[in-house]
């Protein structure tokens, strides 16, 4: 399969197909082995977990770990995460599209610095664990912790800068003549956005949306600190719950981790192509 896979369809670039095929072979092992190992571990009983030398298939599979995981409220965490991530995607698009529209189609005071500010705020949304306590105090003082909207709000802000960038890039690819024609017909800005631009940037919205979904699904730091009520806790802290003060409980931990990956894998299988084609339309165009 490897040698067939490396047959170039279009002779694009200088390279040794074999070398990349080999590289990919290593990647397959490095990426799949932990996943398969995690899955097998999730089916093992306590006694089989740490047999030495480790066993691949020589054990009695059990669903006990999955039962334990669901007994500790994991189903609810999945539902909460699904809700949060969906709200985040909707909010990111609702706020991101007008902002991208403004940045791409309007000239207004401070446009350039503000856009740079958006780009510069990407690091702020990348795990600033160190600012956790000051951030927590700030949110406490505003009374924003521990509500049903706390985490969707935070995730929305985290995912917005990247989304604005992607959507703006997609809009760049839409000829301005279309806008002008619409204006000549007497359409307002908002109508143009709604009727002319929006239908053309759907792939870009898909890409931005999937990125936002993955980002909020995997977020950990804010979700452990900003809410306390167990009913408001999403899936990542529920997974980490099995890496507790008394040690790692590999059985339920791997079962929870596998369950936590599944939704993302599904989203990617369904929408994966959309991401690439969505990004293709503009944001990453040279």
């Amino acid at each position: 399969m490897k040698s067939a896979a490396t047959m170039p369809r279009r002779n694009l670039v200088p390279w040794k197909g074999m070398l990349v095929g080999l590289l990919f072979g290593c990647l397959v092992v490095l990426n799949l082995a932990p996943l398969i190992w995690g899955f097998l571990t999730s089916l093992k009983s306590e006694a089989d977990l740490f047999r030495f030398p480790p066993t691949l298939f020589d054990f009695e599979p059990t669903l006990e770990n999955y039962r334990r995981v669901f007994a500790s409220g994991f189903g609810q965490s999945l539902a909460v995460s699904l809700t949060y991530s969906t709200i985040t995607v909707v909010m990111v698009l609702l706020l991101g599209v007008p902002a991208a529209y403004a940045f791409d189609r309007f000239e207004f005071p401070g446009r350039k610095p503000l856009l740079l500010l958006v780009v510069a705020s990407i690091p702020l949304s990348l795990g600033a664990a160190a600012l956790l306590i000051p951030n927590y105090i700030y949110f406490l003082k505003l009374g924003l912790t521990n509500h049903f909207y706390t985490l969707p709000l935070i995730y929305t802000a985290h995912q917005l800068p990247m989304a604005i960038w992607i959507i703006k890039g997609t809009m760049e690819g839409i000829p301005r003549e279309l806008d002008e024609a619409a204006i000549a017909d007497g359409a307002g800005h908002f109508t143009i956005l709604r009727l002319v631009i929006l239908p053309l940037i759907l792939p870009g919205l898909g890409a931005a949306g999937v990125m936002a979904f993955v980002g909020s699904w995997n977020e950990f730091v804010a979700s452990t600190v900003m809410v306390d009520n167990p009913a408001l806790r999403p899936v990542q802290p529920a997974i980490y719950n099995f890496i507790g003060y008394f040690g790692r409980e590999w059985g339920p931990l791997s079962a929870a981790a596998i369950l936590g990956i599944l939704p993302i894998l599904i989203v990617f299988t369904l929408l994966g192509r959309l991401i690439v084609s969505g990004l293709t339309k503009g944001s990453v165009k040279g």
Binding site: R68, S72, I133, P230, G244, G247
Partner: protein
């Protein structure tokens, strides 16, 4: 304020329905932060769930809401929440940060709320080193639970196989001799099982096993002004004891970067016969290996018959000084940690009892095979235990000693020099 919060929470219930409804009742709510998830299935979590359920049945006017936290962020988060006036009513504080929690004024005096109403026997029942630690200037700032005793954990089956009686491990030299006997090599000379190990990573660090050596010599680990005292002769000798075992192949060299979790997984896979381990983890190990395959003993001594003090730790349960529900909280703390909670923690959770009377009342349970570690740890806590001081902050002392060990092992640094550097590092980080 609290009620308004509850009300706002309820308004948000559209998203996370069921669990929220319980807080809408007219009952008074007591919020508690702990690292245990009462919905979980680990023994201690089952015990906590049972205690909460029993308490609410006995006190229908009080609702207990447990809000599980990530354990290493819990105390910093609590102190921040205290500063902003919105902390939970009941809080679990880890030993190393207890001094900070008390000095910050975040903990209420339990004498006023609770202990003064106790009969004298009940007070005496609790009185031990843990009790004294949390009692400052006539005020009681917490009651300990999840008591931890960190000493020698071993495989009785492997020791028996090698003809070693654990009772005979009386001095450090005995321990080393046993480790030599227990180290097994295969035909090609690779070690398949090591005699002894501890974990020396800076992450999730347990206290270094050289500390018992220092304490046994009579030296303190910290000077009265809070400065570190690691590089004493006893300290140098202690560190040498463990690094030499690694150099001689009785302990694995990988231990330099092992976390405690790594160490326990190695022990669970038959790779090590004796480890430095904590009493709180024994029930977990037993569920993997079998009840008869994990035991605990006190540390050996410099001379026979005198056990070296082991480091103790645990979680002190206190009531937030700003709580509006202090009385209800006190009622719950009493129920959870004294009567009938203490027995449940022991029987269901496999935890060391907090009251002496529990030890006698559960005599039969504790003497069952595999449960002896409970009495070993309880005896140790009374006779050969050390708790980190609370007059000054000691955050980072475990890491400093582990880093020194890594430097000796990996960089070949001189032991005395490494410990002196660890002292300086600790002092600087704590502004001393």
């Amino acid at each position: 304020m609290l009620r308004r919060k509850t009300a706002r929470l309820v308004m948000g219930a559209a998203i996370a329905v069921t669990a929220l409804w319980s807080t809408t009742a007219m009952a008074e709510t007591v919020r508690m932060w702990t690292f245990l998830n009462p919905e979980g299935t680990a023994p201690r979590e089952v015990a906590l769930a049972q205690i909460v359920k029993d308490f609410e049945a006995a006190n229908p006017d009080i609702d207990v809401v447990v809000e599980p936290q990530v354990w290493d962020q819990m105390t910093p988060k609590f102190l921040a929440a205290h500063g902003s006036g919105s902390a939970p009513d009941v809080i679990w504080v880890v030993t190393d940060f207890l001094g900070d929690a008390i000095q910050s004024g975040s903990l209420a005096d339990l004498n006023e709320l609770l202990v003064n109403n106790w009969p004298e026997e009940k007070k005496a029942d609790f009185k031990d080193a843990y009790w004294d630690l949390t009692s400052v200037d006539g005020k009681q700032y917490g009651i300990f639970t999840s008591r931890n005793y960190i000493s020698l954990v071993y495989r009785p089956d492997l020791l028996a196989e090698a003809g070693i009686n654990p009772e005979d491990l009386k001095t450090w030299d005995d321990l080393r001799a046993a480790a030599e006997k227990l180290t097994v090599k295969d035909a090609s000379g690779n070690v398949t099982r090591y005699g002894f190990s501890a974990a020396y990573s800076e992450q999730q660090a347990d206290p270094h096993p050289m500390i018992p050596h220092i304490l046994a010599s009579g030296e303190p680990l910290f000077h009265p002004d809070g400065k570190a005292n690691f590089a004493s002769d006893a300290g140098v000798k202690g560190l040498e004891f463990y690094t030499q075992m690694i150099k001689d192949g009785l302990s694995p060299s990988q231990a330099a970067t092992w976390t405690v979790d790594d160490l326990f997984e190695q022990f669970a896979s038959d790779r090590i016969a004796m480890i430095q381990g904590s009493a709180v983890r024994i029930s977990t190990l037993q569920s993997k290996l079998g009840k008869d395959k994990v035991s605990m003993s006190l540390w050996p001594g410099v001379e026979a018959g005198k056990h070296s003090p082991a480091v103790m730790a645990g979680w002190s349960v206190g009531i937030w000084s700003g709580s509006k529900s202090q009385e209800a909280a006190a009622k719950f703390v009493d129920f959870m940690l004294a009567d009938p909670g203490d027995k449940l923690w022991t029987e269901v959770g496999g935890q060391i009892p907090g009251m002496k009377s529990t030890l006698t009342e559960l005599k039969e349970f504790i003497s069952q095979p595999g449960n002896e570690y409970l009495s070993v740890a309880a005896t140790g806590a009374a006779e050969a235990g050390w708790l980190s001081p609370i007059e000054f902050s000691v955050g980072g002392y475990r890491q400093a000693l582990n880093r020194a060990t890594q430097q000796v092992l990996v960089e070949g640094k001189d032991i005395k020099a490494a410990l002196t550097e660890a002292e300086e590092h600790f002092n600087r980080q704590n502004g001393r």
